[in-house]
Symmetry: C2
DNA sequence: CAATAGTATTTATAATACAAAATAGACCTC
DNA sequence: GAGGTCTATTTTGTATTATAAATACTATTG
């Protein structure tokens, strides 16, 4: 992903973040002291402290003199932070977390479609349409599968013209990629799916907020149903 | 608010965060160098760097050698971070931002109510009920006004048993408090409002997901309509 | 004028020293 | 022995200094 040139501090931040999300530390086994982390990762205490501060800013840990560095309860983690999210998914990808994702999408996307129907500019509509074209292209077997699909959902969030929904684009994108992983759909987008997306676009373009909401909701429910099935299947297999 | 014992680094983080959100710096006027910040706020470069790292972790800024510290586009800010949110509200509270908030609540809360209807434990139901009692108490004129109202919405999010929705409790709480500020409703909760909340609770308790969704949606639409009116009023006044 | 080499500025990292906070344990009192 | 106080110890917090690395800017050279 966007690794770019990570400096030491950022490198360490990510390594510690991943280690935490892999369950290396927990409520009983607290993190090593700054000094020990410095030794373990062979960096100065300066770099260690800066990494600790970044993780603190993301709500993962807290540190106090003499007490050391402690993991915080998941309630205070910034789950909507891209890094935290990625660490979670890399750590222990499980179907329940995926369902939680989809429940959130179910809440967000229909409303985003509704807002897009009311507030999208012509440029933003064009962007949505372009992603549809890309889906059609994927359907024919070219290109990265489902990138058009992903762009479609992103561009709708963007067209909501609400900064909070826009912020969720990265979030939803990650959710979509994980979803594709689990539903094992490497094949092309089906015609039915494509048509469902076209319908949503047409309703948005027509400015039909309620219609766009309902259509998007229908799609989301279907996706969630698929995962619920997967979970049921998985459960019966492991009995 | 929860100031507790802020150390220098955290103090500086908040001061810089507020300064940024008050528009003291922008895309043209970048932040001073670490050295200058240290002088201006009379702290060591160590503390300054750690504060900068925390703001970086929250997506507000980025820093590179020779280039200095630059503000990032709002698209990369972690709007769901409690601190960022508070700085935004303290900075320039405007009705449009409030509407954006409410649009998000409209997306989140009905679905949370629906999930609560399906997954709430008896303890969580009891918690919702307690907040209703507190509302009734407020109605009679005692206690902090609307704290029960706020607790009601928080406890429903909590009862969704979805960590993403739970994470939004703080977010929604802030939104509610600002909303109360703008709608100028220092008086007690009305009987109609109280009854609407009781209805939502009963539907959740009965396990009626669709009903709870619809009832919560209705309440949210009403709140949003009130703010839309305020905005229209404000516009006509300033012509 | 273009490519290149040099220079200056700013962040990145390291190392050291000491201050402040929090805790555990010793000690003391009754 | 219960309870409290004091002290020692551990760990983070802050400051300072030094140097490295990255990069924008400048000057030079062909």
């Amino acid at each position: 992903m966007e690794i770019s040139h990570r400096n030491l501090t950022q490198q360490l931040t990510h390594e510690l973040g991943e280690a935490i999300l892999q369950g290396k530390y927990n409520e009983f086994k607290k993190l090593p002291s700054e000094a020990d982390i410095s030794i373990e990762y062979d960096v100065s205490r300066t770099a260690t402290r800066e990494a600790i501060k970044m993780l603190t800013a993301k709500g993962l840990i807290s540190s106090r003199p003499r007490q050391g560095i402690k993991l915080k309860d998941i309630k205070s983690w910034n789950l909507f932070d891209t890094d935290v999210l990625r660490w979670i998914l890399l750590g222990k990808p499980d179907l329940y977390m995926l369902r939680h994702f989809l429940q959130l999408r179910l809440a967000i996307e229909p409303e985003a479609a509704s807002l897009a129907a009311r507030f999208a500019t012509t440029d933003e509509l064009a962007q949505i349409e372009r992603s549809l074209a890309s889906m059609k292209f994927n359907q024919a077997g070219y290109e990265d599968s489902h990138q058009g699909d992903i762009d479609f959902h992103k561009s709708i969030l963007f067209a909501s013209n609400n900064p909070f929904f826009v912020q969720l684009t990265t979030f939803i994108e990650t959710a979509l990629k994980v979803n594709l992983l689990f539903t094992n759909r490497a094949e092309a987008v089906s015609e039915a799916e494509y048509q469902a997306h076209v319908e949503i676009f047409n309703l948005i373009k027509a400015g039909n907020a309620q219609g766009a909401f309902d259509a998007a909701m229908k799609t989301q429910r279907e996706t969630l149903r698929l995962v619920d099935e997967k979970i049921a299947e998985f459960k019966s297999k492991n009995l």
